[in-house]
Symmetry: C2
Subunit: 197 residues, 2 copies
């Protein structure tokens, strides 16, 4: 692992310490400037490290955000996992399964719910999340699948709404339905949003 | 308007004062016992008034809850408005229009968002809301339209998720779409949930 070059005299902080300082600065900058307004260079300057080190630790701005927000999954992973399906007819099933994989696992559900709650009650978090989802999920998905953005959003809306009823409110019978029942219920709806009209 | 009979000596409180006292007691009881556990009789006893007076003011437990939570619309109104459509083929359009009518009006959107935010961050509010929605929206809708509850929930999930993306996160282009574009986008999806498979 590269050791941090802070350009400051005195004790050299260890990699973990430096990583944490970068994340703390990133959280502050993202909250102040939004996802679009904060840059990897700006975060590095704030943390008094070389931008190359931030890149080395996190791969890029998206990776810094995912780590800073303790986001359980990188949207790029979701897009590429859904893109693995061979035919366009199976996009609905692939998206339903990928979404449920993430939500059914408490280790990823808990931080996702935390982010969703913050976005609902804090305007700054809502702005950050909007810009992040736009840049890392909607734009790549639109380009990869050539589906109009509003239709991708309608599909994501279907999934988020069901997640709220199932995991937050616990409304029956959707709260106790099996994963496969949910895939059967939702996949054709998602597919309809993706099919040409 | 009937004057309240509190059965207590001293100054007779006016109707507004009594109404507010009933609502304060109702809020406390609903939070403590949930929607199902609180009764109109229990609320009346807590507020030291005759149950007939609570009935006179609010029509019933559902009405007390709607007023106590400052709910902008009684779910019974939504069910009966959607039920007004002549044919089952038009349920999707009717539900999309009715839902958007409520959300597009800031006077009802603001309190709805407040309830949604509380339900997402407070387990007791989530329980109250779950029981309330179950008793006043899901059960009547299932009986009126003879649609399996899980399908009604999938449709409500579609609408709630889109409301979050449009009104809370402000994700484009769904945030700036016209009401009619949204009806066109969502009505066929809702209808698909309602059609027999």
């Amino acid at each position: 692992m590269a050791s941090p070059r802070t350009g400051r005299p005195g004790r050299r902080p260890g990699p973990t310490e430096t990583r944490e300082r970068i994340l703390a600065c990133a959280r502050r900058l993202f909250a102040e400037k939004g996802y679009d307004g904060a840059s990897l260079r700006g975060i590095a300057r704030e943390a008094e490290v070389d931008p190359a080190l931030v890149h080395h630790f996190f791969g890029g701005k998206q990776g810094v955000f995912v780590a800073a927000m303790e986001f359980p999954i990188d949207p790029a992973v979701i897009v590429s996992r859904v893109a693995e399906v061979g035919s366009r007819d199976e996009l609905g099933v692939a998206l339903a399964r990928t979404f449920l994989d993430v939500w059914e696992d408490p280790a990823s559900r808990t931080p996702l719910l935390a982010v969703l709650r913050s976005a609902m009650t804090n305007e700054r978090v809502a702005t950050m999340m909007r810009q992040f989802v736009q840049a890392t999920l909607l734009t790549p998905a639109t380009e990869t699948f050539r589906i109009p953005p509003i239709r991708i959003e309608a599909a994501i809306g279907q999934l988020i709404g069901v997640a709220m009823l199932r995991y937050v409110l616990g409304v029956e019978p959707i709260a106790s339905a099996t994963r496969e029942e949910l895939v059967e219920l939702l996949a054709p709806t998602l597919q309809r949003h993706f099919d040409e009209v």
